[in-house]
């Protein structure tokens, strides 16, 4: 693990060990915020920030954190960064903060961050942990943007709020509602697993 380079970290974070479709982590928010690309983008950026910063912090404190209470310490570190994100969003992007509602706060319980802190930052130097956080966060954000692109395009006929579909287009209302979120992620996982190498096959369902 010590030989991780920035490049290998990104390759793992974005595709090989992508948190969303490889490890099925953090999908609560992956489904909830993906009906508009703007919201998704902000969510992705917030998550990259929180993952990278808390990874770096956990890594910096890794030698002085008692093993038994490390989960609690990690949760507190994550919660502090989420608080910063929440306050910044409220101040500068109030309408997006309104639209995201509780899902900003729910970054705390997003298992991606916890997973990276526990699985990587705990045993690795600060700089690599920071990069690892950015890589995993980027993997998450990219998947979300793809899903949001399809949902917004079919559901509202827009991309980032700009109308792109011809005028005869009838929006598929179902795409912006809850069930389509499940369908889209399910299909996405299907496509992603189709490209998976056979030996990586997971345990049977």
């Amino acid at each position: 693990m010590a030989a991780d380079t920035a490049k290998s970290l990104f390759r793992k974070g974005v595709w090989g060990e992508n948190p969303v479709f490889r490890q099925i982590l953090g999908i609560c928010s992956a489904l909830a915020v993906t009906n508009l690309m703007t919201n998704t983008f902000i969510m992705g950026v917030s998550l990259i920030f929180v993952t990278a910063m808390s990874n770096a912090t956990v890594s910096a404190l890794r030698r002085i954190t008692p093993g038994r209470i490390r989960m609690m310490v990690q949760v507190l570190i994550i919660a502090s960064y989420v608080m910063i994100v929440d306050i910044v969003l409220k101040a500068y992007l109030p309408e997006i903060s309104e639209a995201l509602g509780p899902y900003v706060g729910l970054i705390i319980t997003n298992c991606i961050i916890m997973g990276r802190c526990e699985g990587y930052a705990r045993n690795n130097p600060v700089w690599l942990s920071f990069l690892d956080g950015i890589a995993s966060g980027t993997g998450y954000a990219l998947v979300l943007l793809v899903i949001a692109f399809v949902r917004e395009l079919l559901g509202f006929g827009t991309v980032f709020g700009h109308p792109v579909m011809p005028s005869w287009w009838v929006p598929w209302t179902i795409m912006v509602m809850a069930p389509a979120g499940f369908f889209m992620l399910g299909l996405f996982i299907w496509v992603a697993y189709q490209f998976e190498k056979p030996e990586e096959k997971k345990a049977p369902r």
Binding site: I24, L25, G26, I27, C28, S29, L31, A32, M72, V75, L76, A79, S80, V82, M83, D86, I87, G101, P102, G105, L106, I108, T109, N110, C111, M114, M177, A178, P179, A180, G181, F182, F183, L185, G186, L187, I189, W190, V191, Y193, Q194, E196, K202, P204, R205
Partner: protein, 197 residues
Amino acid sequence: METTLSAPVIFFAAIFTNNILLANFLGMCSFLAISRELKSAVGLGLAVTFVMTCTTAINFLVYHHLLVPFGLVHFRYIVFIIVIAAFVQLVEMVIDRYSPALYVVLGVFLPLITVNCAILGVCLFMIIRHYNFIQSVAYGFGGGLGWLLAITALAGIREKIRKAPIPKALEGPGISLIVAGLMALSFMAFSGMIQIG
């Protein structure tokens, strides 16, 4: 901006129309991970319902009687997560000490619950929607039951699906998500009855 819905309405809405899992996507991680077997799904669902009801009540009191008067509302994330974690720990110790039988059923799921986003989500929704105490508890209890209902249904379907021929790449999480999508679709049929938030 007090909401005027009565507690029973919120209770039923939380189970059916605004199901915390199928409409708000909360608690997905354990929903997909633990729904392989019906028995453990029910155990986890019961534990979630119990913890959700109690932590909603505690967090309501903490928020309105501690955080608001002292102007600390920005710290609510940290405080809520600590309350949830502490409560789960406490319940685990109490059950372990006084009811080993119950501990066998629920105990293994309790640590998982701390990071279940549904619990924190319910606490945050109750603040955002300006519920009073009774409404919050009704929402917490209904949300928990709704979650139990959803995970039990999915676990039942997944036990049957095991025998079905489905594409290799769709196995596991893929097909579960599609099933969950169909469930969400059928729960939308309730949405004409009541709507909250």
